[in-house]
Subunit: 357 residues, 2 copies
């Protein structure tokens, strides 16, 4: 147990958004302090973390001081500049590891990694220019979707290609960034598995949740998901395969399409995930604490679900509904963001729909 | 709903211990910032609160600045100096109110208040000197217990009187402070009701928990408690009577002795209460969020229990058991205290024993 951090240890978190905020809260339950690194002031995590290094990711001096002041470093987003990671890793361990980031920061590398593991993905091809794109469309067909290889989230950096005529405009949307063309997958619904792996290699998955998106942003996650027992087993096994192959430590979100040909991996996120927020009111140990347990070298919680839950995101002015929602008995989680801009995740609501079944 | 605080509002909390810590965390879930006022540095609540006024309660300038920087003031302990409250109340509302503090800060005033409401208490008498004590013993009999009227908690400031021979030593223990002699109550067990009252007068009670003490400190709380339906109804009704009479806003802990003659009120605590910690893993809205909802003018959560729970305090070096407990799947709540002194509350564990029944 020598690697198990104890009360008073400090967990460093790269990123100060709502995921960092809820990680900080979970860390406090286990007696840890948290220190966030985030360029923005008055960010959601800064309200609950012990310390806030407000500095840029290219400020290596600040990164060094940050790393020296903590016991272990984790992150709430995957697009951290490589040089920043180099600076930190020379001083303190980063969990999940660099190998994972290298895979998940690039859609092309990620899909190739998954295929090598024997897991199915959408058909894909690298696209660097118009020639590549024409060849890729010829191979994959339309409809398809062109995405930047890096730095995409919540539908940003994506363009649909319904017919070859859309190719030029889609490529222009990439603004010269290396891209990937992905074929459409004929799926009935999307589920995700929130999986965790501890420092000593044990793997634990929460029950899969069923996701519905609106305008490219997650809208609801429902547990239990509509899956057969065999599909559920398959989802858990493939998540375990991914985590083990990466020597992963922490929580990962694995998004899956349910198709007649089986489960197809949409994408992986090496962090706590919006589609795992239901665990806050459905499990004794939620995804945030599970992640903290893993990076702190603690035994994992057992992932058991005590309640059925529907998680609903509050996007933009959805948050104006809070006075009514507050009367409902549903669990409210707000992120402390002052400005309800359109498309901005302001909070979420977990509606407990009954005991787990 | 004009009194309902919204995201970005700041809740001031007097006291920076574990209750303030868990109140801060609950406030963050609803989008609030917290500002604690606490003379000690590196206190449990400072790890998760936005701001920490580290100043003495007789520093009126600091109290004024504190009050000006927040939207409403609440507290995690009842023994706040009256003058400090005067300074604050001139600037911002204090919830629960001053009337409640006047009652609960003095055991004698509290028992008289409860009796006036028609509620049963242990027999009692005021004791200022040896003559009072001799008369009180003659009236109440032995065994009895001599307590300071003010500033007692966790069995401190108390002396047992098994026979009149113990009177002199017991009085010496009071060190000249005004005291109260309380007769022993022949009870089968102790339960407590965690009750809440909102700004608009609605009352909501969590299910009563059954408490077991060790060395004068709460050891375990178990829900459901061993009570008949009639006793449960009685417990809820008497708690409501107390809260309504005080125009109370917030969560109150009401400790009750179960006797053949019915329920007898042991004491009331105008704050979140150790015997309500089980709600963190037994209810969707726990006692901490319920208190924040009340003081922020929000509708209360419905208090519904989804799981049965045994809460166990980690006192002093109990906390050394954490590596083992972490394997169990039980919910761990640590307070971030560095020093495991004997008798010190270091954390607690909530063991979910099954779905609510």
């Amino acid at each position: 147990m020598s690697d198990m951090l104890t009360t008073g240890a400090t967990i460093g978190i790269l990123g100060g958004g709502q995921l960092g905020r809820m990680l900080s809260v979970a860390a406090s339950r286990l007696g840890f302090k948290t220190c966030i690194f985030e360029p923005a002031g008055d960010c959601p995590a800064s309200h609950v973390a012990n310390y806030h290094f407000q500095a840029s990711y290219d400020d290596h001096d600040a990164l060094r001081k940050f790393a020296e002041s903590v016991d272990v470093v984790t992150y709430e987003f995957e697009n951290i500049p490589t040089e920043a990671l180099d600076v930190i890793e020379a001083i303190k361990p980063i969990r999940p590891n660099r190998k994972t980031l290298a895979v998940s920061q690039d859609r092309l590398v990620e899909k190739a990694f998954l295929n090598e593991l024997g897991l199915k993905t959408a058909p894909f091809a690298a696209v660097d220019d118009a020639t590549d794109l024409a060849e890729a469309i010829a191979e994959i067909g339309t409809p398809a979707i062109l995405k930047t290889r890096r730095f995409g989230y919540d539908g940003k950096g994506q363009a649909r290609i319904m017919s070859p005529d859309d190719a030029e405009a889609a490529l222009a949307d990439m603004a010269g960034a290396p891209a990937i063309l992905e074929g459409f997958v004929d799926f009935s619904h999307e589920v995700s598995v929130i999986a965790a792996r501890g420092l000593t290699g044990e793997v634990c998955c929460f029950d899969p949740g069923e996701n519905v998106h609106k305008n490219g942003i997650l809208d609801t996650t429902t547990v239990p998901a509509n899956l057969t027992g065999m599909q559920t087993a398959d989802a858990v096994l493939l998540a375990g395969k991914i985590l083990n192959k990466l020597d992963y430590v922490g929580v990962m979100g694995v998004e899956l399409f349910v198709t007649r040909q089986g489960l197809i991996v949409n994408e992986i996120a090496p962090r706590v995930h919006n589609s795992g927020h239901w665990t806050q009111n459905g499990c004794t140990v939620d995804q945030f604490e599970q992640h903290i347990r893993a990076v702190a070298g603690w035994p994992l919680g057992d992932g058991k679900r005590h309640s059925n839950v529907v998680m609903e995101n509050l996007i933009g002015d959805d948050v104006d509904g809070i006075p009514e929602i507050a009367k409902s008995g549903d669990a409210i989680h707000l992120y402390g963001k002052a400005d309800a801009k359109p498309g901005r995740k302001m909070g979420h609501v977990n509606r407990v729909t009954g005991p787990a079944n």
